[in-house]
Symmetry: C2
């Protein structure tokens, strides 16, 4: 393990300057501080744990978390309920691509005195995603999977299982042609769910025609372009990659006169609090968010203790609500599509 | 939660008889005991945790574990190092198909007073494997994955990552045609490794011709039938699904005059202690067995506490040893296969 002396020697400066730069003192120039941080990361220096315990960081983007009904709230609460009794301090840091471009992940963590981080809501195009292939500061990635770096772990629910539960249940209800609407495939988890949809169809002995799925960054495009196409193909049930999209489909169906679930069953994904309050209430695949938060802390503490956790997934659960029901005798494509269908 | 009274009422017998049957008293007939156990499982009865803490079970088959150099030893030690300080008693039970046919898993656990189990070495054809789809007693399955039952968890290393590390390293060493020898595909983990081999080839931009792999229950068949076939196709490196097979290939190569690694590189899987002592020492993908044991306890304790862990994988690690080296200028198929090749 490298020491401050090693950093000082490498740069030909005093240990005092190194110490000041690492602690963020204002009488060290920004360029010197940057040079010290870079060298510290390169040499594998890590700051000793301060009195008062480790400091941990939850980076969050693309996810609401500030109110109890927000998706991130329970995850963060679960994490803190484990971390804080264990003596760790937790900072919540809203993340932007700008921050990621300004400073590499390892340097951010070292300069902030953090021992490890949980990431919520990262997309595949985030600048730090590439750094996770070789970073040295433990990072637990919710819904993202980086292979071959023992300092990162993938946390989530078993999305393949979730999809299997949804498809299997619809099959039991008599549905033979099931469609899938997805957000853009630019996130790891949307890719996993997309693949799992077709795998589950095959497992249930149903047609896995690629035309049964549609995806778009815009839910309006899913509604206007993909939904009519799926209905014309004769689907009697639709699974959506996330609840907000499923909710948009519900509302659209109401507007154009498709009865849910009598004519069309709909299942969402994530089971956000909203699902209980839609009309009809939305069946969904639950992510157990408090337990995800607790498990995230376990995974992070393990990585910090040298236990090389790679993947930690929780079981998915199908929450049945009134948006699904028995398959109609015939699909809308035979009984007559509503005129309002784009 | 069902009580002894519920069982007694259902069967129309006294609570005393139920209590005796559950505690294994000898003055209750075997058929009565069986009936009580069946009803108890059916009603969801679970025995209160005894004074002295939970009793846990490690079932083991197809795996040596009684000496420190055995594969199972470190896993069991890791598990016990976590379980016993937490106040849980651990029994090691060698498992056979006969035991599994005699009594259902849930009944075995209830009659033994066990709260949960770790399974080592199960194959897909084991009778209890089907029961894991609906069992109610927490079970952690090393190297087996049962979906859609919140009472089971899959534990192992990230085998896809391990295969990726092996193929990537061989690619860096200049190998362009890599072969794979596998045990029979009757186990979950051999199926995963087989699929991962081809996936890794594609990721590395190498040919994924299905003819590059061979599998058999008998290592002799791998040596006599598949190895010559792979060499004639021009492979310069071979990955084996487990170390004992890789060791058999090493010995066979020595016998027929193929120099390892100059003419052929070989990588095993699991990193059993033997790997350091073969000639040359065998490169392998390590399973961190002590940490697998500790993680198994974590997963089991979580299931018992209602935290629905589905999957817990540890990072794989490539241990480089002298059995791999730079690719030869030309494969044996061009420079001349040894006469002794079957």
């Amino acid at each position: 393990m490298a020491t401050m002396d090693d950093i000082a020697k490498r740069l030909g400066i005093s240990k005092g300057t190194v110490s000041k730069a690492l602690s963020g003192a204002t009488d060290v120039s920004e360029s010197m501080r940057r040079q010290v941080l870079e060298t510290a990361v390169e040499l594998g220096y890590s700051r000793p744990v301060r009195q008062g315990g480790r400091r941990l960081c939850i980076f969050i983007e693309n996810m609401a978390y500030q109110a109890p009904e927000d998706f991130g709230w329970d995850i963060i609460m679960g994490f803190r309920k484990m971390a804080e009794p264990a003596g760790a301090g937790v900072d919540i840091v809203p993340l932007t691509p700008q921050i990621q471009k300004q400073i590499p992940y390892d340097q951010y963590m070292l300069s902030g005195g953090y021992s490890g981080a949980l990431f919520l809501g990262m997309t595949l195009s985030d600048p730090w995603m590439r750094e996770f292939r070789s970073c040295k500061t433990p990072a637990v990635l919710y819904d993202n999977h980086v292979r071959a770096n023992p300092y990162t772990a993938y946390l989530g629910i078993d999305n393949e299982e979730g999809m299997e539960l949804a498809v299997t249940r619809l099959r039991e209800l008599g549905h033979r042609k099931i469609g899938y609407l997805s957000g853009a495939l630019g996130s790891f988890i949307h890719q996993v769910r997309y693949r799992s949809f077709f795998r589950s169809l095959r497992q249930c002995g149903l047609s896995d025609d690629p035309g049964l799925a549609g995806n778009s960054y815009y839910s309006s495009e899913c509604l206007e372009r993909h939904l009519p196409r799926l209905l014309k193909q004769g689907v009697t049930a639709i699974i959506c990659s996330h609840d907000l999209l499923a909710h948009a489909v519900l509302i659209h169906c109401m507007e154009i006169g498709i009865r849910v679930p009598e004519q069309l069953s709909i299942i969402g994904f994530d089971d956000i609090p909203l699902c209980s309050y839609t009309a009809p209430p939305l069946a969904s695949i639950r992510q157990n968010r408090p337990q995800l938060g607790r498990s995230a802390y376990y995974a992070l503490a393990s990585l910090m203790d040298g236990i090389p956790i790679s993947t930690l997934l929780l079981h998915a659960e199908l929450v049945e609500r009134a948006s699904i029901g028995p398959a109609p005798d015939a699909p809308l494509s035979e009984t007559g599509l509503p005129a309002g269908l784009a």
